[in-house]
Subunit: 190 residues, 2 copies
DNA sequence: GCTTGCTATGCAACGAGTTGCATAGCAGGA
DNA sequence: TCCTGCTATGCAACTCGTTGCATAGCAAGC
């Protein structure tokens, strides 16, 4: 279970409300860990009860007040403990692969539009990542020729995770091209 | 929810018992959809009640009897309906990425061994996939120069999914190399 | 005879994730 | 004035997934 830890990391990067966290889980964090607002609110409450995070009521103008959460010492300790915990299996849930193998018992050609849709979604996400990289990491230190800036762990680690997302999207697009070429070999009715 | 559909696909490829399905979920199917035996038994029971699958008691010698499941017409129809259902979000759960971003607030260097362990696991899995490909798909039709064999949807779709696994593992290994190079820039205590 | 290990099936309890719904403040436009 | 839409938080019910445990047949080895 790591939603708690994903929230801790996000709050360490920047304190925020449940609503703001939910929006982050639609953007940066959400690219490698999904969560809905109900899940987030529920877990925030538990984390608060456990003393992992502190709350602060923040009155706002022109919109409802919010509760801003930040990481307490206990939360930092919990994160550290989790980071040092070696166990780490990888569970995969790839519907599309199930569909592709299942298509052999149905109409393979009928999957083409579906796969094309996924491919487009990955192209969109790749473009989004690349735009974010150009905006937030204009030139990495590897390109720098002058005196080195001191390494900033938070930035560099965010960047390497983003590069992972970029690699993933490129891999998926290439693979879906392969899938489309394979599906094209089966006409309707095959 | 697609565990039911993954089971249907697996049973269409070859009928089998809950135990055999659990083993398949440790091998081929399990590479893109994980499930434990408890989950599988529970879902099999429900699918049987819903008339999606048929059971047959198979007495065995030298080992306990088993129940062999096979797909019924209703199950085939349910799979077909799911295959034609366009909606298909992609949910990701990538603990390691959370850990990498979290390492900025702890000791980045402490993650190196963990990342190396993951990298080794991916190398092992890649080797396993490549061996399976060499065994089950000795030369693809793209290499064939003589008269083409008739396309076999089941085999070719299994192969393209396996190629996806191979691409994925290669991508992960490359990315983890990138992660290791990044982590190496932060000594202990940074 | 006892233990270990593999095949084979299953229950019970709990925790995580999903879906539907509800409330409420405030802004902007028809 | 009413409706839409965004911010902001939350409950309830349900399903899915995980963990620990239990049972049982049989084989092989000590």
């Amino acid at each position: 279970m790591a939603l708690e830890h994903a929230i801790l990391v996000s709050l360490l990067e920047k304190p925020g409300s449940g609503y703001e966290l939910a929006r982050r889980f639609e953007r940066s964090i959400g690219y490698f860990w999904t969560a809905t607002h109900q899940q987030i609110y529920r877990v925030l409450k538990r984390m608060e009860n456990d003393g992992w995070i502190d709350v602060r009521d923040v009155p706002q103008q022109g919109r409802p007040d919010k509760k801003e959460y930040s990481v307490a010492d206990l939360g930092r300790a919990a994160l550290s403990s989790w980071l040092h915990d070696p166990i780490e299996p990888e569970s995969v849930r790839h519907d599309l692969a199930v569909k592709i193998r299942g298509a052999a018992f149905d109409d393979p050609a009928a999957l083409i539009r579906e796969v094309e849709r996924h491919r487009q979604a990955h192209r969109d996400r790749l473009a989004h990542y690349l735009a974010g990289e150009a905006r937030d990491f204009p030139r990495s230190e590897a390109d720098a020729t002058g005196p080195q800036a001191p390494p900033d762990a938070e930035r560099e680690l965010q960047h390497v995770v983003l590069r992972g997302g970029i690699r993933y999207e490129r891999m998926m697009i290439d693979w879906l091209d392969d899938v489309l070429a394979t599906l094209a070999r089966f006409g309707p009715g095959h």
